[in-house]
Symmetry: C2
Subunit: 453 residues, 2 copies
């Protein structure tokens, strides 16, 4: 295996760089054509790697690429999931090199999607090529690479529901998460859910002169700020009635285990250049970013934002607000609670509208399952160290759906690092991590097949 | 006089339309060339109207146009002030017709600057033409039309200080304000001051993934919202320590006089399509918009504001915040108080920076002066109704400076209306008001000369 990687490492890298050159941004309709090119690239790669079939399934949104190689119906089947869409790259001016012109610097690949998730799902395609070429594929493999993960996977949900047989499998393997460090391998045992809202606050029917009307007419920006500020209290708790009702409090043991993971607060603050961390009172940074729900404004805009000064009392203000959810919150319920509350706290001097973007359920993976054990053994073999189970703060909405519809658990065996700057300018992915993933994935198949015997 | 206007009305209008076609936006440097064209246009117009001299004075910013006609040193001298710069026109998409392509609809001129202040200062140039042509000019006249009123008149301040002799006069006449209604003439007896700030709140050194870091790292947008919300309390009072210390409370009599002005709250709400007015507890809408100070966010931006959803925890957030001031607040003091307070309330998890844009002092004009009486008589003669003294909510920072440096009071004899939508899309100016102004101004000169005898 290592020999095969060594022989083909340059090609493995160049193929990924070609994929990274395609600006497949799912959130912005102006990249629709690039989304199709990316899907075609993935299909071609699957076939080249040795898949029996690889097809592009159309959806009302961006297409889904599905491929498979069934070697023996009696063997266990692994469904690999990933996504070829990426987050928007703006603000462009903060990138040291253009987001869709990948460059290699200090053994890292810099590009939007380098890690999330092109670099990570492409490891699976190269692992497939390797297992086929070396005739070591130990399980049947199905691969589903979608194009709407960054915008909520809404059409994938429909697809999964209508293709249960096609997607029938024993477990689902996903590389879209991180390890604690290159010398501290870990496996994500949980994900937060998400509900993403967009709000608009409207005051007068037109922009007004802040001198003539100022002080007598509600300013929608001031009002929006007050409404947003009121959504959290002095202890960093979210004030939406019922918000915490379904939140599962961890036991002292679970919290201790969680906080046992290596974490250097000073290094964390140093890396982010912040004077202090912040968050819900009574919880550690590890807990705040994994097992506690959040409310973050992802974007806000209103009034005059150009050069210089404009004394305008604007007609409206807008914000994008998302909440990360934890077991057993559901995005439907939190979306409803948020909407009801936000409308309820609006003063009579303004009108508000609330629009949900997308959401997903939180997820927890058991550490006593065959598939978890297989992942553990694979990583231990490739990293030379037993991986630590860790709860993640991100969201992969589809994981909960897989469990509901396919009745299977997902294994979150990712190879990224915090420094990869996912969703940020200068996203990157380590060459070590890319090749280590390609090396580890076949080991999962090997151990999983053996354990299932 | 009326005859002269009747004969030349079309030309009077077309000349103004030509001026309105020049996008002289002082706040945005990309209109620098247009600012020069506008200044040249004003100079040409003054000379054509009969000024002895008209010159363009350079400044480090936009030029000042000064012209005069001295007919007899023994006669009183009136200094006319106005500004040829306009507010930015965006949001352009809300204009029914392009802001710099004036159109006449329902006897109104629609264009950026139609009223504020091109339409209003140009009335004075046409009034001069008329007085010269009919040989009825009763006072010496000096005209100073600047290009930086909408950005704080900072260079005019230097110019006035260094040209005291040139600007020597008995009173200053300004048309940059409104009347209550076309059948309810009024004269502005006060203006609010202004201090305009820009703030930035910075969290982490880069945009972060809201799943990986959300809940553990301060979100600068949430923090900015909390800081802005905390600047006013539940009663609509501004919480900046010392903010009200210099505010002059009006006597019961003054308040009664102020509230005696015709004002229809229902019509006001109807016009703005708002469910309710808002503002400082214990004051009427008239008071809130004229004799009470304010704090309005004029613009806010941060994070992802594009199409769709981006789960980013942004690195920074910004806002433009301005405060209208009343006697005896000073912009220097309030600027300092705001800066000190805003920096003081910033949590350790963020860094804030505060930058002042510009400011101006509030102003009050006495109603027992010769010049006020002259304005009163002029309006009574042209409108057939005695004008009401009214306090305005807007700001003309330079007015307070004139008093300090030239030792003269300004008469705010404006002819606009609230419906003119100053600083808003679809700004307009009534043809009635334009011609009525041209008719009234010479009457001011006539009565002022007589009263000064």
């Amino acid at each position: 295996m290592k020999q095969y990687i060594e022989t083909h490492k340059d090609r493995f890298l160049n193929e990924l760089l070609d994929l990274l050159r395609i600006p497949s941004v799912s959130a912005d309709s102006k990249f629709k054509g690039d989304m199709r090119s990316a899907a075609a690239f993935v299909q071609k790669s699957m076939l080249a790697a040795g898949a029996d079939t690889a097809e592009i399934y159309e959806t009302p949104g961006h297409p889904i690429v599905y491929g498979e190689k069934i070697i023996d119906p009696s063997l266990p089947t692994v469904l690999v999931y990933g996504h070829y869409d990426v987050q928007p790259a703006d603000p462009y001016e903060l990138w040291d090199s253009p987001p869709f012109e990948p460059v290699i610097k200090n053994d890292r690949i810099y590009a939007r999607g380098a890690c999330d998730d092109k670099g990570q799902f492409y490891m699976h395609i190269k692992a497939l090529e390797m297992m086929v070429a070396t005739n070591t594929l130990a399980c049947n493999i199905k691969m589903m690479i979608e194009g709407e993960e960054e915008v909520g996977s809404s059409h994938l949900e429909t697809f999964v529901n209508s293709h249960k047989e096609l997607l029938e499998c024993d477990t689902i393997l996903i590389s879209d998460t991180s390890i604690i460090a290159n010398d501290v391998p870990s496996i994500e045992t949980g994900l937060r859910g998400l509900t993403y809202m967009e709000v608009e606050v409207v005051g007068a029917n037109r922009d007004l002169h802040s001198g003539v009307y100022g002080g007598g007419v509600a300013n929608p920006i001031n009002v929006l700020c007050e409404m947003i500020a009121s959504l959290t209290d002095a202890d960093g708790r979210i004030t939406i009635p019922g918000f915490y009702d379904q939140v599962v409090e961890l036991s002292a043991e679970e919290r201790a285990a969680l906080n046992a993971a290596p974490f250097d607060l000073e290094a964390y603050k140093e890396d982010l250049q912040i004077g202090d961390v912040a968050g819900e009172k009574g919880y550690t940074t590890i807990e705040r970013t994994s097992v506690r729900p959040t409310l973050d404004v992802n974007g806000i805009w209103g009034g005059y934002t150009g050069e210089g000064a404009k004394t305008v009392l604007p007609s409206k203000a807008n914000a994008k607000i998302s909440m990360r959810l934890v077991p057993n919150q559901t995005d439907e319920e939190i979306c409803a609670l948020f909407t009801k509350h936000f409308e309820a706290i609006a003063p009579a001097s303004v009108r508000v509208s609330v629009k949900p973007h997308h959401g997903g359920l939180p997820y927890v993976t058991p550490t006593d399952s065959v598939e978890y054990r297989a992942a553990e053994m694979a990583m231990e073999e490739s990293f030379g160290k037993k991986p630590i189970p860790a709860r993640g703060g991100g969201s992969i909405p589809i994981v909960a759906l897989f469990e509901q519809v396919l009745g299977r658990k997902s294994i979150l065996m990712g190879f990224g690092l915090d420094i990869d700057a996912l969703h940020s300018p200068n996203e990157s992915y380590g060459l070590f991590n890319y090749y280590k993933g390609i090396e580890t994935i076949p080991l999962f198949f090997k151990h999983y097949a053996q354990l299932k015997k």
